[in-house]
Symmetry: C2
């Protein structure tokens, strides 16, 4: 007997027919003798509907009320799945975030889970032999008791946090794809499904644009060593594929130098021309952006044509582009730079692989291969297990395919 | 400064446009200096959608899961109205049943409110000067902590219970009609809006088929002496009509003998022929029905043609008709009656008025008037302040109009 968490996203529970199909997946695991907690998202489309209502009710809506409204979608799915399970003779009950409780920070709209009490769920397994069906994406603030949500993809994080809290042997994230791929199969037809990915790699992939899992869920899985599978809810419930296991590095026998190629369109570039080259100027620029909660990613500093000043280039999320420019324009007199330039038609392409740690020159090969294809690199960042290049958006597919081939990831 | 509860039903909050209109009604009261708690229903159509999903997920659904699903509709409206209020600069926050908390019995689907803690709401008024927007129709069971719902029209009951808990000076129930009428205006064009109705009369009207308020809400208002208005949310928010006040009998100066005529199509008649006329037989018949939660209303016993036995006629709600017959058929050997007959095409027409207490012969006049129109009376029940007659459904409109004219209720 194992204890496991199964998580089903919006497309997997889009209607009652699909919820019944999910019930069959759960039934399979229960009949295998496992204790099962299921985490569900809202039926696909429902969250968008609720968000649209919020925006209509108040363009500058109160994030706490937004959370109270938007978290309701998952309550519906949890109740319906519990019913569908009972209907095929699997004892089950639904749990709302506050009933468990799942305690979070007060960052409404993107709250962090700070504690999950597994006691009631475990009692449900042991005393009532029932499946726990849990509304994902939500918790309550530990002090105010108000409903919080965890941001887009937050149900993944709910699932992993619950898996950690109840000491689950496994956390299965069911999605509309059958695992994690070496890159986006819509761009590279030769993309391959990975059997295993290390936590660190998955973390980078999620951060760098692969939308399979919420970043925070991978962090939690890594910290709590939760064996997490990404797999498909559209497989035959009686005979499903295993999907991709996200696990410790040590559990991966044949380590590739590069495991995957990710890309993110959500990047905008800002260049400040002729910034006074004096101590403290970088802080003067980036502190106001940080205060406004704008995440600055790649930073490059180049001496200007006039040799007395520097040009400073950095990227911010596209959604924050206009706001960042406004903040900088306002600070212009104090900062004393010449000019702001910006571009939103840029894309960040990244290669991720734990093998980079022990292999030199991995990124250099990429720079050459991209240059050979005539792709201009606007900025570069590297870390121990990944590197990213910022390029013009029109070269996205070409760059992804070039790197995918370069690192031997193409399916043969 | 007064403290008041305003309740808005599903059609009043059917979309964001209407929710904005509700916000204007609330704004008017806040600007008059009042402390305001608002109770809202789900957007019209939403509850039905949720109910349909439940039935689809499991024909024999778990009532506890049903409650968890169906109660979500009100959470959405509460959050949206709080946002719409903030958007016009009225401080507000939403409250979910469990947050207050509103404690109920465990009769899922038709739970009774057993306690409302007004502390947090009063603190919101005093400390934060904010409007409390409360999700109606729901609470939590005081022991299990699971979500319960109060049955159709339950938000009325939420509103009155909250009014009692916070010591409100007034509870305004906003609906799609502008008050309580002497009878259904769709049947009698000369029906008049009443300025005042006594609690007892309203209780009878609600029980006897006038669908303006949930019966339980009137009971609570009567017990806790909550001055309750029924009024229209479709009035100009800047210049609304007062509606109908439901109040103590003593507060009504000009008492009519008959205040209103109600009718209920939800009646089915069962007649047991040749029931053995011996002690205990009535109990033998009605106890099994009571055990099955079937509400028996009118009862008439007549000596049969054979003089040795009696015929027993009574009514049950239409929804319970088949079930009641099955129970009686099963008990037939023990009861020893001759035959079961039933009819569902019957209607109960009632006249209600506190003045009946002090006037003799009020009902007798009606029997004559109905007979004059050729309407056959199948059964009669009377109480201190109302009498009801069971007639063939096809005579409904004629009977209602006849009584409405008879008791001087026609608008001149």
């Amino acid at each position: 007997m194992a204890r496991l968490v199964m998580k089903f996203g919006g497309t997997s529970v889009a209607n009652i027919e699909r919820i019944r199909n999910v019930a069959l997946h759960v039934k399979r695991e229960v009949e295998a003798g496992h204790q099962v907690a299921v985490v569900v998202s809202a039926m696909s489309g429902k969250t968008n509907e609720l968000v649209a209502w919020c925006k209509d009710a108040a363009p500058l809506y109160d994030q706490r009320e937004y959370d109270a409204v938007v978290a309701s979608g998952e309550l519906v799915t949890a109740g319906l799945l519990a019913m569908a399970l009972q209907n095929i003779n699997i004892p089950a009950r639904s749990w709302q975030g506050w009933q468990i409780p799942i305690l979070t920070s007060d960052a409404h709209g993107s709250a962090r889970i700070e504690g999950v009490d597994g006691t009631a769920l475990l009692e449900g397994f042991d005393k009532h032999h029932e499946v726990a069906v849990i509304a994902g994406f939500q918790g309550i603030h530990k002090e105010t008791g108000r409903v919080t949500t965890l941001g887009r993809g937050g149900s993944d994080t709910s699932a992993v946090a619950i898996a950690a809290a109840i000491g689950a042997d496994r956390c299965d994230i069911y999605t509309d794809v059958d695992g994690v791929y070496t890159t986006d199969p819509r761009i590279v037809t030769k993309a391959q499904r990975l059997d295993r990915v290390a936590f660190e790699e998955m973390l980078e992939m999620a951060s760098l644009g692969a939308k399979v899992l919420q970043v925070r869920s991978v962090e939690l899985a890594m910290v709590h060593k939760v064996k997490t599978f990404v797999r498909s809810s559209f497989d035959d419930p009686a005979n499903p594929q295993p999907g991709t296991l996200i696990c410790d590095e040590e559990d991966i026998l044949e380590q590739q130098v590069v495991t995957g190629i990710a890309y993110s369109k959500d990047e905008a570039q800002i260049t400040l021309r002729r910034v006074a080259d004096k101590p403290g100027v970088a802080a003067a620029i980036f502190v106001p952006l940080a205060d406004a909660n704008i995440n600055v990613d790649m930073i490059i500093q180049v001496v200007s044509d006039d040799k007395a000043t520097t040009d400073l280039t950095f990227t911010v999320p596209t959604a924050d582009f206009e706001r960042a420019k406004a903040i900088l324009e306002k600070a212009k007199p104090a900062l004393g730079f010449g000019d702001i330039q910006g571009a939103t038609n840029v894309v960040k392409v990244s290669a991720i692989g734990i093998g980079m740690r022990s292999h030199a020159g991995v990124a250099a090969k990429a720079f050459k291969a991209l240059a050979d294809k005539g792709i201009n690199i606007r900025a570069i960042t590297t870390s121990e297990i990944k590197f990213s290049v910022l390029i013009d958006a029109e070269y996205t597919e070409l760059a992804v395919r070039t790197l995918h081939t370069l690192y031997g990831l193409d399916k043969v």
